[in-house]
Structures are given as structure tokens and as C-alpha cells.
């Protein structure tokens, strides 16, 4: 079947989205951007195609309520299969690094230690992907990395093997793994294995395993033809695309927001290192835009920096800030100065949630300034990008919009991180069909 793909190569993550002939979303994919955009583009595209296979599988099975249960179980088990396959690759890669002359004397001890670590991660893997399990990240690097760290520390203490050597080997190996792209064959195998695994302990599904297996095989046999691919985002120049396949992320975010919410007139996109205020007309055509320049304070990275300063995970910032009883005033628009202000406030006895609420407000104040420069907020307003997932940021934004522009419809989609990729895919569709 013909498909139209948009790939958004952001500074932090790379997103891909697949549309069908009727501009219906088939699948979405996301991965870390890494330093290699070619790989990031391929990985995210493969992930979006996996999403598409799930959608097609769902369509083929029909709307029986139990199908959702089957798909949720398939998703978990497929991810587990994927994780285990990457874990094998990681172990192989680590083993190869042991041949380095610097490890000549400790090779065997390190090999044993690594084996112990990997066996343990293998044992833990099903629990990581168990129903209801809470994962802080879906990226292999984050999941495997955090487990490798803590298990290596334990194993090195027990065996006397150098912890630094284990980490060094891991750091080198993970780069190799991140540069690998799963082939369609590998994905097909993992999906089929995942389906078998799902049926081992799954109740309440009206579809037999044999029927599901045949249906999935049919879906996997369907060729997803890449009819037209459009790339956008910071890494776009790294894509092996001809120039006409490249679109600016401003246009992609404008069109993507319009696709999700046709009434959109103003778009705010906060990405990893840039903030964009965009005005669009009734067709999703950009009429005006403004971006931050020279300074990325107030972007996603700002939050990452603050999380590091506070020794907490990025995803914890919003929830902690939501428990604030007041908003501490943070004056600085500079990330580093804000970090200093944060420590100063802490030393004065201010509460962490209150300071975090203040930091979220500081970010949004910067965004409001960019929106104002682009022409202000016109109904409807759509907030996109990774930061739109942060409830404290959204709360501050709502408040600031109300203060500055009155009551406005504010659209936020759970899939807002894919807005740029959706716009890109729409451009791909238009390139062929208009």
C-alpha cells in the first residue's frame, strides 16, 4: 500500500509518522536523536512502520472489544522481544570490546562480570514489560543503561572487577547498538514471537491464536511502500533526501497543528532547543512566526538542566511542581542563572515544589514573549512539542494566556510531540496528490 511519511529530526528526539492514502494516521515512531541523524531517521521510520502494522492488524481483526486486550498484550510482548534482541546485541558488542589490549589481564574476569549482569537483566526483563509496569522511559538506552549501572556496581563490589572498566565497555557498546536499525524481517520475527508470548498468559480474548497468527502474517506480508518522505527539524540537512523533500519545521508544525485541530490559528511549539510561535490561517498555512535565537533558555533542555540540578528525572518535574502551594518568583531567563537562583531559594528554605512551579512559569513567560512577537494568541491556540506533556508547564501556560489574552480555546494533544512529523507527512501526501 502507498504511505506518506514525515520525519522530524529534533535536537533531542526524532519522530516519524506514517499516513495512508486517505491521510489517516497509521503509525508513529520516536527515538533518541543521538549524534547520527541518518540512523535516528531510519529507527524512527521503522518504529512508525511498526505502529502502522499494529494499526493494520487491529483493522484486520475488527472492532471486537477483546481485540484491544490482545493488542495491548502484543505491544508489551513485542517490546519485550525487541528489548531482549537488543540486549543480545549489546552483550555481543561488549564482548568484542574485551579484545582490546588494555583488558588483556582482566578479560576473563570482566567477561564473567558482564555475563552476570546480562543474565540478571534478562531475568528482570519480563517484569519491566509486565502489565501495569511503570517504565520511566521507552528507550532501550535508558532502560538497559540504568539497570546495567546498578547491577554492574553490585557485581563489581562482589567480584572486585573494576566498575569503571565495565562502564567504559558499556558506553562504547551502546553507541554500536544505537547505530543499528532493525530490518523488516527482524521486526516481523519479533512481532510473531511477541504474539506467541502474549497468548501464553492472556485471557478474555475472542480471537484464537491461530487466527491471530494468520492475520498478523498477512499484515506483515503487506508492503508499506514509502511513496513520499518529507524530513524536517534540525537534522534535516543530514537526511539523504533531495531538497524538495525537506520542509522547514515551522511549516510542518503549523500544518501538523492544523491537521490535529483545524480551528488552530496560533501554535506554540517548545522543543528541545527552540521555541516557536507560529500563526496559521484557516488552511494551516503559516502567516507569521518567531523563534528564540542565541539562547535556548525556556526550551525543553532548560527543564533537563533543572532536573539534573535537582537530581530528579525529567518526567518528575511537572508532577512535583503541581504540588506547589505558591509560585516562587524566578527572575532569570538564563538556564545557568536559574540553576543558581534555585539553589539560593532552597538555601532560604523555600519548598522544592514552589521553586519548580516558579521555574515552569519562567519558561512559559519566555514562550509568551515569543508568541507575542509572532502576533499574539488568536483562537484557537495549540501547544505542541515535548514540553506539552508537562502538566505544570501547561498549567502555567493556561494561566498566562488567560491573563494576557482572556479566555481562549487551548488544544493539547497527547500526541503533540508528533506534530512536526504529522505536518511533514501531510506535505508528503500533498506532494503526490495535489
Amino acid at each position: 500500500m502507498r504511505t506518506f511519511i514525515g520525519i522530524d529530526l529534533g535536537s533531542t528526539t526524532t519522530k516519524a509518522l506514517v499516513l495512508d492514502e486517505n491521510q489517516k494516521i497509521l503509525g508513529r515512531g520516536i527515538t533518541n536523536s543521538r549524534s547520527n541523524y541518518d540512523v535516528a531517521a531510519s529507527v524512527s521510520k521503522q518504529e512508525a512502520k511498526i505502529g502502522a502494522r499494529f494499526t493494520l492488524f487491529h483493522q484486520a481483526l475488527g472492532d471486537d472489544g477483546s481485540v484491544d486486550v490482545l493488542l495491548a498484550n502484543l505491544e508489551r510482548n513485542f517490546r519485550l522481544e525487541q528489548f531482549l534482541a537488543e540486549l543480545v546485541q549489546l552483550e555481543t558488542s561488549c564482548d568484542m570490546y574485551l579484545d582490546h589490549p588494555r583488558f588483556a589481564d582482566t578479560k576473563n574476569a570482566l567477561r564473567e562480570a558482564l555475563a552476570a549482569v546480562f543474565r540478571q537483566i534478562e531475568l528482570e526483563a519480563p517484569a519491566i514489560y509486565a502489565p501495569g509496569a511503570n517504565r520511566k522511559s521507552d528507550f532501550f538506552r535508558d532502560i538497559a543503561g540504568s539497570r546495567f549501572m546498578s547491577l554492574s556496581e553490585k557485581v563489581s563490589k562482589e567480584s572486585g572487577v573494576s566498575f569503571d572498566a565495565l562502564l567504559n565497555i558499556y558506553d562504547k557498546s551502546i553507541l554500536d547498538i544505537e547505530a543499528m536499525v532493525s530490518t523488516d524481517e527482524m521486526v516481523a520475527k519479533q512481532l510473531l514471537n511477541g504474539l506467541s508470548r502474549a497468548y501464553r498468559d492472556m485471557g478474555g480474548v475472542n480471537v484464537s491464536e491461530a487466527e491471530a497468527m494468520v492475520t498478523l502474517q498477512k499484515v506483515l506480508a503487506l508492503e508499506l511502500e514509502e511513496t513520499y518522505v518529507v524530513g524536517t527539524g534540525y537534522g534535516r540537512v543530514r537526511l539523504p533526501f533531495p531538497k524538495e523533500h525537506i520542509r522547514s519545521e515551522i511549516l510542518c508544525h503549523g500544518l501538523g497543528a492544523h491537521m490535529m485541530f483545524p480551528g488552530t490559528r496560533t501554535v506554540l511549539d517548545i522543543g528541545g532547543q527552540d521555541t516557536k510561535g507560529i500563526q496559521v490561517d484557516e488552511h494551516g498555512i503559516v502567516t507569521n512566526f518567531q523563534m528564540n535565537d542565541r539562547c535556548a533558555a525556556g526550551c525543553g533542555r532548560y527543564l533537563g538542566y533543572i532536573a539534573d540540578e535537582m537530581k530528579i528525572g525529567l518526567h518528575e518535574l511537572g508532577p512535583i511542581a503541581m504540588t506547589a502551594t505558591k509560585t516562587t518568583r524566578i527572575n532569570s531567563t538564563c538556564t545557568v542563572f536559574a540553576g543558581a537562583e534555585l539553589r539560593d531559594r532552597l538555601s532560604l528554605g523555600e519548598k522544592r515544589p514552589d521553586i519548580l512551579a516558579g521555574l515552569h512559569r519562567a519558561i512559559m513567560l519566555r514562550a509568551m514573549s515569543i508568541i507575542a512577537r509572532s502576533g499574539g494568541v488568536t483562537d484557537q491556540f495549540t501547544f505542541t512539542g515535548g514540553v506539552a506533556k508537562n502538566e505544570a508547564a501547561v498549567k502555567e501556560l493556561r494561566q498566562l494566556i488567560k491573563e494576557n489574552y482572556g479566555e481562549k480555546t487551548i488544544n493539547i494533544s497527547a500526541e503533540s510531540i508528533y506534530t512536526g512529523a504529522l505536518g511533514g507527512a501531510s506535505f508528503a501526501h500533498r506532494s503526490v496528490n495535489n
Partner: protein, 433 residues
Amino acid sequence: MSGAEVTKSNSQLIQKAMISRNYDRITSGECKVSSTFVPGNLNELLMCFDIANNLPEINAIQNAMRKKSGDMIQEAERSGHSEDVCTYVKADIGMMAKGNIAPNGKPFRDPDMLLLSYSGCFTFMKWFELLREQYKCPTVMLHVPYAADGQPTQNMRDYIVKQLKDEVIPTMEKVSGIKFDIDRLREYLRKSAQAENNLVWMLEQSKRRPSPIDCYFGGVYYMGPIFTAFRGTDEAIQYYDLLRLEIEERIAKGLCAQTLDGDMPEEKYRLVVEGPPNWTSFREFWQMFAEAGAVVVASSYTKVGGVYDYDGFRHDPDHPLESLADYCLGVYTNRNLPTRVDMLARNLKEYDADGLLINSIKSCNSFSAGQLVMLREIEKLTGKPGAFIETDLVDPRYFSAANVKNRLESYFQMIDQKRRAGGFITGNAAASA
């Protein structure tokens, strides 16, 4: 990218030789030297006293294009000048601290006088205060009132003429030992007007499709002689005659605008640009436009030294001092915002441009203040899309190529998108466009 051979026309080679001769004259020690500024400069008056014209802004630009300004600016910052100060000023201060070597490799002599003939930029005054402190030489601060109501008044004109008579000319006589001869000034002004006619002819050629010239990046070369030490000279007349011939030839051949890398193969976008260019990455900046097929058909920067094509100003030998006053009053940054808006909106319509691009300069409030308001107003008046980029004059730290390129690409694609959607006129905009 920047290492390739630059294509130069005869007029550019001649201009280069003119600039070089002027630097040789300034550094020769054989004549008196005045430091002055580009906007509203009184070159013809200086010529009446055989005083050489040295322009610190031009020195900063020359140093920026030679990749020397960054070190000079940091030198100035080490001596206590803030990060936010106009980078022309810091490049000049830094150049002095580093031995005050002119672009011809010879040391600048201390100026014999400082002549401020345009006070619409407050920084100019501060700059000359610093130089006065350094050189302890006679300093003339001609006060040019801001044309806040859009049109200079007779009172303003009289006020400037009075200052010329009472302050400026007597100081020049004292510095040079030469008595003022108004007929000599008339003769120079006659020559100025002759070159100015060709200059306006040239500016208006970009109304053609394709435009044979770029009126921003190319424009800074074409403006050079008229805005600096050559207005009123035979050299300038010859230069503009030659330039006219070159442009006529380009028109006859149907060529697109000339760039540093040869002729643009195709003209895809026609822009009006507001604000000065970036000098430290001048070539790279221009290439971003040229590679996209974007030509600048009109720009406010080509009016920074004086406005000739908006209300028909020419230097007038029959009213010499009044004409100098009108020239100072009429420079682009001395015009109020509604006038600037009108000027740019008219450019957009008359030159059939796709849109307005503003290059906002971090350290130049003379240009930057009010630019966003202007952008909105011009969009409303013309229905054509605007865009905003941010760079600096001569501080290489403030040219973020990736960011500028990103915005430019977005803007060009935005124009494409609008064209595909059936033109620029949307909503209630541009009913009269």
C-alpha cells in the same frame, strides 16, 4: 564556502582602488583628517577644506569582512565596554587598542577633528565622547532634530544651517587654515547631484524581472562611494557612470542579480529587507539568499547614508547649506516610524516584492527599535508576509548560521506555500494592494 574566488566587476575593482587611495590619503600625514559618520555625512563640506574623510563605521565593516573585528571587540570589552554596546563602537575602540592599524596596513594618524553630523543615533555621540577623550581634538557635534512628525520643518532646517555657519564651518576653517568658499561647495554639490541621479536610476532597476542587481548585499557595494568619502568628486561620477553601463549591459542580457559567486541562475523570490546586513559572515549570509534564488529588490540600508528615491532629494548647489541640512534631516533612521513604514510598503508594492524581511541587529537600537511594529503594519498594508531574523553588525559571536538559515528557509517555504494557496492577499488585508 568562503575560500572560493570572488567574482568582481570593473566597477567593484575601481571602487576598491578608490577606497584604497582614501586610506592611503588618511594615513599619509599629508593632509588634515576628520573622523565622521556615514548617515548625513558632510563630505562636500570637508572637501572645501581639503580635509580627508575617515569613517569609523566603515573601518569596523572593513575589519569585520577581514575577520578581524571579533578580537577587536573582545579587546574593547576587556577594557570595560559592555557586551550590549554597539559593536561598531567596540570594534573601533579595540582597533585603537591594538595599534590603530588601517586596512591598508599603515597606522591611522590621530584625527585633527571629530565631526558628528547626525545625532539620530545617540550612540554616535557617546562614541565621539570616547574618541574626544582619546584624541583631545576639536569636536563638532551638529545637532540634527528627529523628524518626529514625518516631515522636517523650516525651523529644523534653519537650526541646522545656523549650526553649520556658527560652529561647523568655523571649526573646519580653524583646523585646516583654509577659508570657506561657498562656490567651491556649490561645485561639489553639483557633482553630488549628478552621481545621485545615476544612483537613483540604479536603485530603480530592480523593479525589473529579473532584477539585474541585488539591492542589499550588492547594494552595499553600489552605495559605497556616495555614502562615504567620494560624494561630490569626479571619481564618484565616473564610478556611477560605469556602474550604469554595467547594469544596462546586464539588463540587455536579461541577467539575474550579480553575487560574489557570479550571476544568480534564477530569481525565485523578491524581497525587501529592513536593517543593516551582518558583516562578519557577509558572504555566507548572502549565499543563503542566492542559493535559494532570493534577490533583494529594495532595502532600507541602502538609504542609511541618505534617502534619494523616496521624496526626490538631491543636493542642491543653489541652496548649499540648506541642502546639507535637508540631507542630514532626511537619512532613513531620522525618519519616524510611519514614514519608514510607508517607505517600505511602497517598496514592496512598486518593486513587486514577495515580502519584507527584517534583519534585526542586536546592538543597533537606531534600526531595531520599533521593527516588529513596522513589520505588522507593513503586513497589514500590503498583505505580504514578513519575517524576522536576528544577527549583529560586526560581532561574529552573534551570527548563528543554523538559526538564520532555518528562519530563511522557513520564510521562503512560507512564500511558496502562500503562492500555491493562491496569492498573498488573505483576509481583509491589502484591499488596496
